[in-house]
């Protein structure tokens, strides 16, 4: 007895990075997601990185069909899903083939040994058995018969062996839950609720989960489990949130805070569709969702709803943003509020639909015909998508302008613990409307001028259809300053171009200055980022500073206009480094706007930077 007790006493570690990998049909995203939830409830800090193929079901057992979910859990504040996993769970040979190189040297490999037959090995591209031929030399390898034990556990339930096999991901989840001392209860409760309508599947999954847990405890394979203590966090109520859910909830919040019903016009596209799915559930908030016939109708219907006085919004990814471009130009000309949310993915063209990239920044800024400035803001973390949605709505409503919001596949699908805000502290959003005549014609008759502007914000007067006596026409043809009537006058066009530009530029007076983090006063280098690279940059900056060098960091949420103090901040430091998941799009803007020698560090591979890569890049520039 005492032997067992000693063997199973958990060893405390400060963090671990686990990568679950298997066939697309193996349920790895679900497994990772459940492990994440149990860890969140335990109070760990965590960051996740789901990676899955674009094909719904690539040929089973092939490397192309491998789906993986990486989760980093920790007893302290972390910002990235980790550079290299410590543990790889490989459900089949293809998963081992595809994922092994990512594992840290000497890391732990847990394989489902039942799948390592000749046929599967060949399909995965192995000539010899990697478990025998020395491929895994230096790694700690556990060969676990996941399929056969799962089948055996399900036998008494009367589940057919083929159906029982489908529960093997819950076996893996049970085993890893034991290894890292995750509480069983939340997973059991979740299985009970999720599969309530399918009792046999529910029971098979429960049996598999328990069998995995028991296997860890009883099979004398593992020396001991590990535990990761809760991370110190600010007091409050937390939930685990993905970027797309946070974005959807932020839009609902913006609707509530403005009193304007939300209208989403959207065409399904990876990785943005989950926002449409989420919002379509919330009709009791007065949310109207239209799955439009195409991307153009998505934004067109949203603009129509905005014209009618609702909070019009469209969601998309790069190829869809390209299609919406003309309508965004119309919205800029009509000067109506509109939210365009681009969840960036690998491009150009279909590119890498399920992979992340930041390569739409210049399209967001300039991808419209004519002189057509519009505000651009970017989220930096999954939870930050909530705040960004509200900020976008604030600007759109106040300045009567389309606002382009940038997120990306990494933020959209990644998750982190979120300290839930007190909803009473959310900003009130005010959409001022005109209900009376605002001008007098030459004969002294009162009239309505839709392009009369607020002298401070340059926002135009908006009167909604249905407002008595203020009937007027607006359109995409150039409008006369003030009256809004069609005008082809050259001087007037020049004035309107300048007014639209000044209106957007003036928003700089209404957004916070950038905050410099790190060695504010004496940094040798400033690292400037935007969007989802925040976690990796922060981690890298901290590491370089720990090594004794002085580094400052700025992360931009407002990309157009830039915060007012940005130029001064950029010029304050001898070197400026801009990490981006593109070939240097923000750096180009900084160089053009501020004449600073901003250097680019690029990664355009469909996967996020690791903190290690950026630590190296910062060190290299410091040494150069």
């Amino acid at each position: 007895m005492s032997d067992t007790a000693e063997r199973t006493a958990p060893v405390e570690i400060d963090r671990v990075i686990i990568r679950f990998a298997g066939d697309s049909g193996d349920g790895m995203q679900l497994t990772g997601d459940r492990f994440t939830s149990a860890s969140a409830l335990l109070g760990n800090d965590l960051v996740t990185l789901p990676e899955y193929p674009a094909e719904i079901r690539a040929p089973a057992g092939t490397v192309a069909g491998v789906s993986a979910f990486q989760v980093h859990i920790s007893d302290h504040d972390i910002t990235t899903p980790g550079d290299a996993p410590n543990v790889l769970v490989a459900m089949n040979p293809a998963a081992l083939m595809s994922e092994l190189a990512k594992l840290e040297p000497g890391g732990t490999v847990i394989v489902n040994i039942d799948t390592f037959d000749d046929r599967s090995l060949t399909k995965a591209g192995f000539h010899d058995d990697p478990l025998q031929d020395g491929t895994l030399k230096g790694y700690t390898v556990y060969e676990v018969p996941m399929t056969s034990v799962t089948k055996k556990a399900c036998e008494p339930l009367g589940v057919k062996p083929r159906d029982a096999e489908r529960s093997k991901n819950f076996f893996a989840l049970g085993l890893i839950s034991w290894m890292y001392t995750r509480p069983e209860k939340p997973t059991i409760e979740w299985i009970n609720t999720k599969f309530a309508s399918k009792p046999l599947v529910r029971d098979a999954n429960l049996a598999a989960f328990r069998a995995g847990h028991a296997f860890g405890e009883t099979a004398e394979l593992f020396d001991h489990p590990y535990s990761v203590r809760p991370a110190p966090q600010k007091p409050g109520i937390y939930t685990n949130i993905s970027g797309n859910t946070a974005m959807a909830w932020g839009l609902v919040a913006a609707s509530q805070q403005s009193g304007l019903p939300l209208f989403l016009g959207s065409y399904p596209i990876t990785p943005a569709s989950d926002i449409l799915h989420e919002l379509s559930k919330h009709k009791n908030f007065g949310v109207r969702t239209l799955q439009a016939e195409d991307e153009i109708a998505g934004v067109g219907s949203a603009l129509g709803a905005s014209y009618g006085g609702q909070l019009g919004c469209t969601t998309t990814s790069g190829p869809g943003l390209a299609l919406k471009s003309e309508t965004i130009g119309l919205a800029i000309s009509l000067e109506l509020p509109l939210l365009i949310i681009d969840i960036q993915r690998g491009g150009p063209s279909t590119g890498l639909p399920t992979k992340t990239e930041q390569s739409d920044l210049l399209m967001a800024m300039y991808g419209h015909h004519g002189e057509s400035p519009l505000p651009v803001i970017a989220a930096y973390s999954p939870a930050n998508c909530f705040d960004v949605a509200i900020e976008a709505a604030r600007i759109a409503l106040k300045y009567r302008t389309p606002v382009l919001v940038l997120s990306d596949g990494y933020l959209a699908n990644g998750a982190e613990p979120w300290l839930l805000p007190d909803v009473s502290t959310l900003p009130q959003l005010d959409y001022q409307l005109t209900t009376e005549h605002n001008h007098v014609d030459a004969d002294g008759n009162p009239e309505f001028w839709p392009y009369l502007r607020d002298p401070e914000t340059l926002a135009r007067a908006v009167a909604l259809p249905g407002t008595p006596d203020l009937m007027h026409r607006i359109g995409g043809i150039e409008k006369e300053d003030g009256s809004g009537n069609i005008s082809y006058d050259p001087e007037n066009h020049g004035r309107m171009v300048a007014l639209r530009a000044a209106k957007v530029a003036g928003i700089a007076n209404d957004i916070p200055d950038v905050e410099v983090r790190g060695d504010v006063d004496d940094a040798e280098i400033l690292v400037v980022g935007w969007g989802s690279t925040w976690g990796a940059i922060s981690g890298a900056v901290d590491r370089v500073r720990t090594s004794g060098r002085r580094v400052a960091q700025v992360h931009l949420m407002h990309l157009n206009p830039f915060p007012k103090n940005l130029g001064e901040v950029l010029r304050r430091y001898p070197k400026v480094l801009v990490p981006e998941m593109n070939l240097g799009q923000l750096a180009k803007l900084l160089r053009a706007d501020f004449l600073v020698d901003a250097r680019t560090v690029s990664k355009v591979k469909g996967v996020p930077f690791t903190a290690g890569e950026l630590e190296q890049a910062i060190s290299d520039l410091l040494e150069s």
């Binding site: 969140a40 839930l420 026409r473």
Partner: protein, 341 residues
């Protein structure tokens, strides 16, 4: 007396005319369509402030500027999409969509068919002049094969759309045709279209006197109308001609054909049924093969089907009845949560 307070005050055509100078070519058929609409509006018991004209791009799309209502002149082809969002957001508004054959059937074809199948509540007037006017004379998706234009000096090769067939194929609940030479027929057709709850599609044969003059003259010239236009009237035998001596009947092979009433007998003349759901409207839309065949005008189809913004609003109301009005705090706390002390 107070029960009349909700009725709009009486108006005249002048009240519905904006102060903007109308800028179509002199002699354009658009003028008579504009007049028909402006004359009709005072008869419809609607308010100007609750009326919105939405258009795309093209000669016809300038229409909203001339109406003293709310108006949105959009971008090429997208008016049905913009109007869909507007009509869904504001079921209280009377939404009209105006466009030409290029706007609606070429660049905007996709939006048109989807708006029709959804049955969004708007009245869509498609000015069909079988030519591109604003871009100065290229062939359109309704131009006849062999059309010689600036872009087709050797004649066009494309088979034209039959707009009525297309609208019926797109599951439109109201489909009608009228023409710019008959103000009374236009007004009555527009009135029916306006009163229809759902998407109403009206094709208007419209003369472009600059780039395609006389395209419909074989049908619409006063001297030709009796023999060439077949008025469709719900519940009445389909007859035409100066003495109503001709009619439409179903022949032995099940096709529609034009017959002399005297030959087949009055009882064998087809009775028009707007609610016919087995393709009568479609067969009628294909009776004329070219502008030199007698052509039906009037309402081809008018059926009831749930309107899209009504259906949307009903879903919202049902969700609120079931879950109560949205509670933001409850939404944020709807996932698994944990407390850090």
């Amino acid at each position: 007396m107070t029960d009349t307070i909700d009725l709009p005050p009486p108006t005249t055509r002048k009240d519905w005319s904006s102060d903007q100078e109308v800028r179509w070519c002199p002699g354009c058929g658009d003028y008579s369509i504009l007049a028909a609409v402006q004359l009709l509006m005072p008869e419809l018991d609607v308010r100007r402030e609750n009326t919105v004209f939405v258009s795309g791009i093209g000669c016809a799309a300038r229409f909203p500027y001339y109406m003293n209502t709310y108006g949105l002149h959009g971008i090429h082809g997208r008016a049905p999409a913009i109007a869909t969002g507007l009509a869904m957001a504001r079921p209280d508004l009377d939404v009209w969509v105006i466009g030409g054959d290029g706007d609606m059937l070429s660049i905007g074809g996709n939006h048109l068919i989807h708006a029709l199948r959804r049955n969004v509540n708007f009245t869509l007037l498609m000015f069909n002049n079988q030519i591109y006017g604003l871009t100065k004379g290229q062939y359109s998706p309704t131009s006849e094969v062999g059309k010689v234009t600036k872009s087709t000096p050797f004649g066009s090769l494309d088979t034209p759309f039959n707009p009525i067939s297309l609208a019926l194929g797109a599951e439109a609940t109201f489909v009608a045709r009228t023409h710019d030479m008959d103000r009374h027929h236009m007004m009555e057709t527009f009135r029916r279209a306006h009163d229809h709850r759902g998407a109403a599609f009206v094709e208007i044969y419209q003369n472009c006197n600059v780039f395609n003059d006389g395209a419909f003259e074989p049908l619409t010239a006063k001297a030709n109308r009796d023999d060439m236009l077949i008025p469709l009237v719900h519940g009445e035998p389909i007859r035409f001609g100066n003495e109503k001596e001709k009619g439409v009947a179903i022949n032995k092979s099940g096709a529609l054909e034009i017959v002399d009433v005297a030959d087949v007998g009055e009882d064998n003349i087809l009775v028009h049924d707007e609610q016919h759901d087995r393709g009568l409207g479609f067969m009628l839309s294909r009776l004329a093969r070219n502008p030199h065949d007698p052509t039906p005008i009037g309402v081809f189809r008018a059926v009831d089907r749930p309107e899209y913004s009504d259906a949307t609003s009903q879903q919202l109301a049902a969700a609120q009845a079931q879950k109560g009005p949205g509670d933001l705090r409850a939404l944020l706390h709807s996932g698994a949560t944990w407390v850090v002390d």
